[in-house]
Symmetry: C2
Subunit: 477 residues, 2 copies
């Protein structure tokens, strides 16, 4: 009985109601909880710990590539916010605004940052004056507020955690290179840490960031066939620099505006981890991002020696650098099995009196539900290869799912069908009218213009005119 | 010429105008800058990097002692904020309030968190129901907003960065122990990382936190003889638990309220680093907290081989795990010397053509302005002992300064004199009237009731009645 795998009935099946499954997992795996303000969630320890793994990975990469962390104010004076026209139009409808300080009405309304471009611009205008001051490559870890009507945990929230990088450069080519360097870091994060393959490419003018000349994005395909924009990297040209007066004396003694970028990923990435890897028993986490990598469940805990044996195993694994949790609570083993399956812990080790006698440990892997007996003496040495294998298998499964859900389409009917379950790889004339038409007819949107622009047909799948671009359409979160 | 130490004339001397010296150092060492909203500062890379060292140290200690990180919303509905009477009275006058979301006026005003007790309480009330759920020991890293009239960089700001821990326990003794465990972690942070000795003790009822039964604090003595409250740890009893309904079914099947704590340190700690260790040339940082531990300044950089030699040295030191900066910019060595002195870099290494020929490196230590020739081959191996020595000397100097500025006083005249330059160690009757009188006459306030309560007289230094307590008074930031 004790060792039987218990199907978790407390969550909806993915194929019955995917949206409900998602919310169930968010709550039951204790990733988050709702607060009393709509759209503002509580990042519970287990959810926050996933974010900490992502942070730690990215922060190291950012620093290795010459970025420095800073912290800017969380409020923006309304007049400053209004300085760049396109930008303010993009964000103004969804801002939270403070109007009162202590007992007094504020002289100027303060916008709770929805993003910090204008704050960085104002600061850069003060501290940049010579080519010697360039580049400046700053990043900040913070939360931002977007006053959204419809919210979903991690995917769209009134407040979310993110990093926002903001850089200024002497030349266009250097700034453009920065934008792509960061996109590559994001894609590598997906591949190396999250076991999530991202589609990469450029955004259309319609979909790009408010104020950007070029936006690049990473997109991941969810289990339900929808795409999740998981990060963006923008090249601003000199637009902000001219609006905010960020210029520098170059080596040739002329005054030039800087070339600027910004880029960010957020706690949305947790959403993609859930929806790419999760199954009907809950979360499934790849080992590197998992807050608990190994859970140890003692069987017949009251029998002499069992708990001591389990503790020794936990200590040994901790000492080897793994994130281990020994659950010595008075819950039943069955309850514990379901609990840590729900939480997506990659590896479960069970030890009971007979196992101890036989010198073995029962090892179960979360992603493939396999069980095996390991020699107790080989536990620690088995793990590096196992974790590599788990990561590889999860990544490969996600790659297969992605690749088998990219459908080259020749006309609007095929496109409409394709976006029911994945990406419509579409030849496009480049006109926004056709992009608009796709959205109107299918509710799918342009996700990216992939870097690989090899055409598979000559005419636009929407209007039939000459095609100039390869583009991916999909329904999106 | 090149090797001459340049007195930095760009900052005021400490003894001429300490407040101006402080602001000069904050700005010139590039720790911060002002934003366009009063009291909201920009944490520049060098200042933020100090905070990252403090974070990294504390985060590890918190996790080792069983704490978990979470993230709560940055806004608090006004009705929730008003639930605990003393607490709201303490904070309401200095809150920033949002009243507008998008185009609409909010149904309920939202307070930008000045501290998050009520948010944790609301969450704990939802997730705690059994003794099995206890203790919960949560911490969060975030910024908070206090709408202060008078602000100073790091010391008192409209927005500052901090950590706030919030824990709930089954018993009073466990909660009280938690409060002291954290106080000890803070004190150890001072001693081990910052080389700052803290006075520790309990706060008087007048000075304790709004809503707390007991507040403990750490205080540091600044160069100018004022005390800086650098961290606090509170025991709340069951007051919040009763206001918010946080109760649990105990093993004996009765329903009990939890016992609660909260505690925090902030970017104020950067202020104490500046004012405890700084000198007339700028910042002086102990090695463990310094963002740059070693700066390498090449001399006659254009001479063949100099830059290569400097790079090899930098690489070797980086590989050994040190935070090294090679300044290969086209500024003069004199400029660089002043710059990194201003930034308080503990160790400067110079290499010029003659040094290379002689197989030496010129090493200068920031805290004592000493210079020595080191054999090139012994550089890396010399540093561990040197850094230990620097840390020890800086700590000992601060301890001596502290101890020589604690003055046992017998009456109000002696007290008045003592608080001109440090702490008045005072016998006190325990009446708030006397505490008030000290403030009125001297502007000094009660800092702590030290744990060591050994009396040095029998009567209250203020009123002459029977003394029951030892207390430290000082002027404070």
């Amino acid at each position: 009985m004790e060792r039987q795998q218990v199907k978790n009935e407390s969550i909806t099946s993915r194929d019955v109601d995917f949206a409900q499954w998602y919310t169930d997992v968010c709550k039951k795996a204790e990733l988050m909880d709702y607060s009393s303000v709509k759209g503002f969630i509580i990042y519970r320890p287990y959810g926050y710990a996933i974010w900490e793994q992502i942070q730690s990975y990215l922060d190291k990469k950012f620093k290795q590539t010459g970025h420095q962390n800073v912290y800017m104010p969380m409020v923006i004076p309304e007049s400053l916010f209004n300085k760049e026209k396109e930008h303010v139009e993009g964000f103004a409808p969804e801002t939270l605004i403070a109007t009162q300080g202590g007992k007094e009405k504020l002289d100027e309304r303060l916008i709770i940052r929805p993003t910090s471009e204008v704050l960085f611009c104002e600061h850069y205008a003060k501290i940049v004056s010579s080519y010697r001051d360039l580049p400046k490559k700053y990043n900040q870890w913070c939360s931002v507020v977007r006053w959204e009507k419809t919210t979903r945990p991690f995917l769209r929230g009134a407040e979310f955690l993110w990093q926002e990088g903001h850089t200024v450069h002497a030349t266009e080519s250097e700034a453009r290179q920065e934008t792509l360097t960061i996109l590559d870091i994001y894609a590598t994060l997906g591949k190396e840490l999250m076991a999530v393959p991202f589609l990469q490419g450029r955004k259309t003018d319609k979909e790009k960031f408010a104020g950007a000349m070029e936006t690049y994005g990473i997109e991941a395909l969810m289990y339900d066939g929808k795409s999740l924009q998981s990060g963006t990297s923008h090249y601003f040209g000199t637009g902000f620099a001219e609006a905010f007066g960020i210029s520098f004396q170059d080596r040739d003694n002329t005054l030039k505006p800087v070339h600027q970028t910004s880029w960010g990923v957020s706690t949305r990435l947790i959403g993609s981890l859930i929806m790419v890897h999760g199954d009907d028993n809950g979360l499934v986490l790849p080992p590197l991002v998992a807050p608990i990598q190994i859970v140890i469940v003692p069987i017949q805990m009251n029998k002499e020696g069992v708990l001591e044996h389990a503790r020794a195993l936990a200590d040994e694994l901790s000492a080897a650098g793994y994130r281990v949790h020994l659950d010595a609570s008075d819950q039943t083993p069955g309850w514990k099995f379901a609990e840590y399956e729900m939480k997506g812990v990659p590896l479960r080790l069970e030890v009971g009196p007979r196992d101890i006698q036989n010198g073995i440990v029962v090892a179960s892997t979360r992603h493939d539900h396999k069980k095996a007996n390991w020699n107790r003496s080989e536990v620690v040495s088995s793990i590096p290869a196992l974790f590599k294998e788990i990561h590889h298998e999860m990544y490969q499964k996600a790659v297969n799912h992605l690749q088998s859900h990219i459908f080259p389409v020749a006309n609007i009917d095929e496109l409409t069908k394709a976006v029911q379950s994945g990406y419509a790889k579409t030849m496009w004339c480049g006109q926004q009218a056709c992009e608009d038409k796709v959205k109107e007819l299918t509710s799918a949107t342009a996700r990216v213009l992939p870097f690989d622009q090899k055409p598979h047909a000559e005419t636009c799948a929407i209007c039939g005119k000459k095609a100039t671009k390869v583009i991916y359409f999909a329904k999106a979160y």
